[in-house]
Amino acid sequence: MKEEAILKNLSKHINLTKEEKEFFISFLHYKKLAKGEILLNYSEICKQQYFVISGCLRNYSIDEYGKEHILVFAQTDWWTSDLYSYVTETPAENIIDALMDTEVFEMRKDDMEKVFERVPKFERFFRILFQNAMVNSMKRLSSSMSIPAEERYQAFIKQYPTIYQQIPLKHIASYLGISPEFLSKIRNKLAHAS
């Protein structure tokens, strides 16, 4: 049962009764995406949080010269959304699409509010989720300014242990802010060192 995956994820931070679980599950919408399918397009308002049951999503923008800049990958057992658009309720400047065949649960913002009101412990869950996201984005920003690309690649492998071999090299290079050629050199160097 696909709901088991999300309940297991919730149990990392909160304990729920059977009724609370059922109440939460009643608001979930299941969606299956084919590789390359867009979940959230630029200029749309992001009104959902997404939970990745399987597969991988990416959140990225495209600059004036057609170059993609990947902000985040969301792998299995991760929550994601376009937080800027979700919080400000303004059109998204980024795109979320599926890097491979992916299954997600969507939860609408207004339903989330209903859950918070009826079961306040969900506020604890999402507080922890958002504070972790905040810490991760601070770390990412800080490392992009001061840490060499080789170390950032190693940190990437650590953060995405199950998925990094399935993500095309050009996308990892975009995430790290380096050219695919440079990433190839780093990978070769690390392969020879090990």
């Binding site: 200029s43 495209i62 600059d63 004036e64 010269y65 057609g66 170059k67 802010g177 050219s179």
Partner: protein, 297 residues
């Protein structure tokens, strides 16, 4: 009496609307300068974006400018090369290296793929590099026009000398005094690059029906009575006259642009500029389906 009134009106200086200093933005690995779009200056219709690269001094064995194959639709990306050289290739079959003082004017229209790279020779030797790319919008009726590329080297762009040749106005398109530029603009845009020595004076007439924009790359000057002391400044004008006079205190370099305001809704994302969100989505779909051609890096 009528003639005098007309003469007085024609000779009146345009007053300055705003001076906007460019902000630095990161474009992938490059840091470039962008006076607009910005919080201070959204656009200068029909000009929607100005990117200023450099001036940089690249060492030998560099990898200057690397804008690999990418699409455009709905506008004209135009590159003015002040120093260095740019290698343009596109899906129309053009393969063109334009050097210092030249221009690459591409009408993307219904869609084209192109790449803009440093040349092998420049990568090997290094040197000074400074370019400006401007995005010139197309009106709805021309957004899906056939794509066209026009590339002109410095020696094909005529010069108008002023102030005892202390001022050189290179006429890329439009007309200064009796000299016309080689570019055929489908929307009637005038574009000049202006090179001024210290203590020199330039003057030219603008079209009352169009929006002019002057960008000072470097230098210090008085433009229609307003001091512009910081390089990388975009100067916009009110529509209360036609004359522009520049008095340069130091050696100064400018790009002048003038075009008819389009006054249509603009929907822009990434490399496409359309009128509606739906047209933007269509542009991405057409690009992904290969309708804008395939160009290998």
């Amino acid at each position: 009496m009528y003639r005098q009134t007309k003469r007085t009106r024609i000779m009146k200086a345009r007053s300055i609307q705003q001076v906007t200093v460019a902000t630095q933005v990161q474009m992938g690995r490059d840091f470039i300068y962008q006076p607009f779009p910005s919080h201070q200056l959204r656009d200068v219709d029909p000009f929607i974006l100005l990117h200023h690269w450099g001036p940089y001094e690249f060492p030998p064995n560099n990898d200057a400018l690397s804008l690999g194959a990418h699409p455009h639709r709905g506008f004209e990306p135009v590159t003015f090369i002040f120093s260095g050289e740019v290698w343009h290739r596109d899906t129309m079959g053009n393969d063109s290296i334009i050097k210092e003082g030249g221009v690459q004017w591409m009408t993307a229209g219904k869609g084209v793929m192109h790449s803009e790279m440093g040349t092998d020779e420049f990568h090997k030797k290094g040197g000074a590099f400074e370019i400006i790319q401007v995005w010139m919008n197309l009106p709805k009726k021309l957004k899906m026009t056939e794509p066209v590329y026009q590339g002109f080297q410095k020696n094909n762009i005529p010069i108008v000398n002023q102030d005892g040749a202390k001022v050189k106005i290179a006429v890329v398109s439009g007309k200064v005094e009796n000299t016309s530029g080689p570019i055929k603009s489908i929307t009637g845009i005038s574009a000049y690059t202006i090179y001024m020595e210290a203590n020199s004076k330039a003057s030219f007439t603008t079209d009352a029906s169009k929006s002019p924009m002057l960008y000072m790359l470097n230098g210090s000057a008085i433009v229609n009575g307003t001091k512009v002391e910081e390089g990388r400044s975009a100067i916009t004008f009110n529509n209360d006259g036609t004359e522009i006079t520049i008095e340069a205190a130091q050696p100064s370099k400018f790009l002048f642009l003038e075009g008819e305001a389009i006054k249509e809704p603009v929907a822009q994302y990434g490399p496409f500029v359309m009128n509606t969100k739906e047209e933007l989505h269509q542009a991405f779909e057409d690009f992904q389906r290969g309708k804008m051609g395939v160009l290998n890096d």
